[in-house]
């Protein structure tokens, strides 16, 4: 079943069409990857769906509900969460506080003014649970600006994941990571997928990562869909080979 349907989505910046007539759907309970060369429009799809800016035309349907053009904070409340390509964490806050911030909103406590934050047991337990899940329990008290880039990327995913979204977008989760950190991220994504059952929609430039985690791959080229299928099918696809995979024969 499709959890997210994007119909005829077009986004123009001035005269440049970043997306033209893109139609795709994400199936519930799968890891779908979106790949394509730089400038293909991957991040634009993310930004339009998560409400950073409205599309020029087209519709976005999430669980049967039209969410086109809703502001980001409303899209989040519907159950779509995202991480960012450029690390976008709360730098002066500690790892624990970063995760906790997402949970404050998720548990509906963001307008509580008078009870000290450390008196909310459920908040603390859930935060610890997420920290365990992402494996950063031992670094929980370090400010985010003092941890490694790889750990920061993981915090980034943890923040997006904390609210138990139904659909999570990961924008280049391994950007700037060394091979060791990349392996950790891949393991984490697989583990999160198995334990939480969340639907993942991932963009990624590292083809090894894409082919190892995805159930399904969508190839985007110059704002249009070039191919859509299982990793097996994509690997065999002549169009994709020509346009994109060409150089990286394994």
């Amino acid at each position: 079943m499709a959890i997210l349907e994007i119909e005829n989505l077009t986004k123009k910046f001035g005269h440049v069409a970043a997306l033209s007539n893109v139609t795709l759907s994400i199936r519930d309970g799968e890891i779908t990857s979106l790949i394509g060369p730089n400038g293909a429009g991957k991040t634009t799809i993310y930004n339009v769906v998560t409400g950073k800016f409205p599309p020029t035309s087209g519709r976005i349907i999430f669980k049967g509900e039209d969410i086109t053009g809703l502001p980001s904070f409303t899209v989040w409340r519907k159950g779509i969460s995202r991480s960012f390509q450029i690390t976008n964490v709360f730098k002066t806050l500690t790892v624990l506080e970063n995760i906790r911030t997402a949970l404050i909103v998720h548990l509906g406590k963001s307008l509580q003014f008078f009870k000290p934050i450390d008196h909310y047991d459920d908040l603390y337990e859930k935060t610890l649970h997420i920290l365990k899940l992402i494996g950063l329990e031992d670094k929980k008290d370090l400010p985010c600006q003092e941890i490694s880039h790889g750990d920061m990327r993981i915090v980034e995913v943890g923040i997006a994941l904390a609210s138990e979204p139904e659909l999570i977008f990961l924008d280049e989760p391994t950007a700037g990571m060394n091979p060791e950190e990349t392996r950790r991220m891949v393991d984490l994504i697989k583990e999160l997928f198995e334990t939480t059952g969340t639907t993942f929609f991932i963009t990624e430039h590292d083809m090894n990562v894409v082919f190892s985690v995805s159930n399904r791959i969508i190839v985007l080229n110059y704002g249009e869909i070039l191919a859509d299928g299982t990793p097996e099918e994509i690997h065999q696809n002549e169009d994709v080979k020509r346009a994109y995979l060409g150089g990286v024969e394994k």
């Binding site: 998560t50 502001p71 980001s72 904070f73 989040w76 409340r77 969460s81 995202r82 960012f84 976008n88 964490v89 709360f90 730098k91 002066t92 806050l93 506080e97 906790r100 911030t101 997402a102 404050i104 909103v105 998720h106 406590k109 963001s110 307008l111 509580q112 003014f113 008078f114 009870k115 000290p116 934050i117 909310y120 908040l123 923040i159 609210s163």
Partner: protein, 328 residues
């Protein structure tokens, strides 16, 4: 019970209040209570503003607007209808806070449509509107003379007791209690989930939009809370100097708490309080001796910020765990 718990967690407020209440009775000195009153009022002003600057990451150059609304509300109410009310002073202070809160809501609504630097410009513009209103509306505000002739301080009648407010000591007690209670409330808000949401907005407001937070709405709430307590500070200054003056709305008044925050520190609750002590104390003692006081203070500020890049308590907080332990 819960309130007692909150008090225990912030016991330093009690210590501060007790200390301030005991000292003048041990060493009665009018000069002392005058300077302490002024420091406390400016400290409340700075702490309220820091809720916006230090904790939410928005700089307001127009907080004098709220200070003046508080000051003029208290001044006008007490001059015109003080005799008829049993609780005239507390009532006037409360009205000053409510009115400042409403003005903050209006100003906040418009200013938060813009981001960062234009937000700061617009707050400045709004405060100059309030200033112009005070100057022009002479029949109501006394124009550029201000509310002259003194502000009466009728007794506070409570539970059959009549507390005489004309003595400087009773006014001092009122100021200490009002400011310390405000410190406590603001500190409690900072430690709450809401307080942590606004810190996250300061660090990364864009990300908060993608975590279900309508950043603009939360910023307006902070401006209103900040405006309410700034209004109280304004009301207290009217009582303290026995008058309300256009000066309370002028843009230089908005700059004073900013200096205090810069000197004392913005990431620690007590930072602006320390800043208020230093700046008020220095200007009170030095300005009478040195004609070019402003020049010296400016130079001091430049050198200080070049060296430390942060307020005094920010530096201390980084270097020692003491401030965290004391829960300042």
């Amino acid at each position: 019970m819960r309130f007692l718990g909150l008090l225990r967690a912030n016991s330093w407020v009690l210590v501060l209040a007790a200390f301030l209440l005991i000292v003048p009775f041990l060493f009665p000195s009018l000069a002392f209570i005058n300077i302490v009153s002024e420091i406390l009022i400016m400290a409340l002003f700075a702490v309220s503003l820091n809720l916006l600057i230090g904790y939410t990451g928005f700089v307001s150059f127009g907080h004098a607007a709220f200070f003046a609304v508080g000051s003029y509300t208290v001044g006008i109410m007490l001059q015109r209808l003080s005799a008829s009310l049993p609780l005239a002073i507390p009532l006037a202070l409360l009205c000053g806070m409510i009115l400042s809160g409403i003005v903050a809501l209006v100003i906040g609504y418009f200013c938060t449509r813009l981001t960062a630097i234009y937000f700061a410009f617009l707050t400045l513009a709004f405060s100059q509107i309030i200033y112009a209103l005070i100057i022009k509306w002479e029949s109501f505000t006394g124009g550029d003379q201000g509310l002259v002739g003194g502000i009466p301080r009728p007794p506070i009648n409570l539970f059959g007791l009549s507390i005489d407010m004309t003595s400087p000591f009773s006014l001092y007690v009122l100021i200490v209690v009002a400011v310390c209670v405000s410190f406590l409330i603001i500190k409690i808000i900072i430690d709450s989930p809401f307080g942590w949401i606004i810190r996250a907005i300061r660090d990364n407001s864009e990300r908060m939009n993608f975590l279900g937070i309508n950043v603009r709405r939360y910023t307006i709430i902070v401006i209103v809370i900040s405006g309410i307590f700034t209004g109280l500070a304004g009301g207290l200054i009217a009582l303290h100097v026995s008058g309300s003056y256009p000066d309370h709305a002028f843009w230089t008044k908005s700059a004073e708490p900013i200096f205090m925050i810069m000197v004392g520190g913005m990431k620690v609750f007590a930072g602006p309080i320390l800043g208020a002590i230093i700046v008020t104390e220095l200007s009170a003692h030095l300005s009478s001796y040195i004609g070019l006081w402003g020049l010296i203070f400016g130079a001091f500020l430049v050198v200080f910020l070049m060296i430390s890049r942060q307020g005094i308590l920010d530096v201390l907080a980084l270097k020692t765990g003491l401030i965290k332990k004391l829960k300042l």
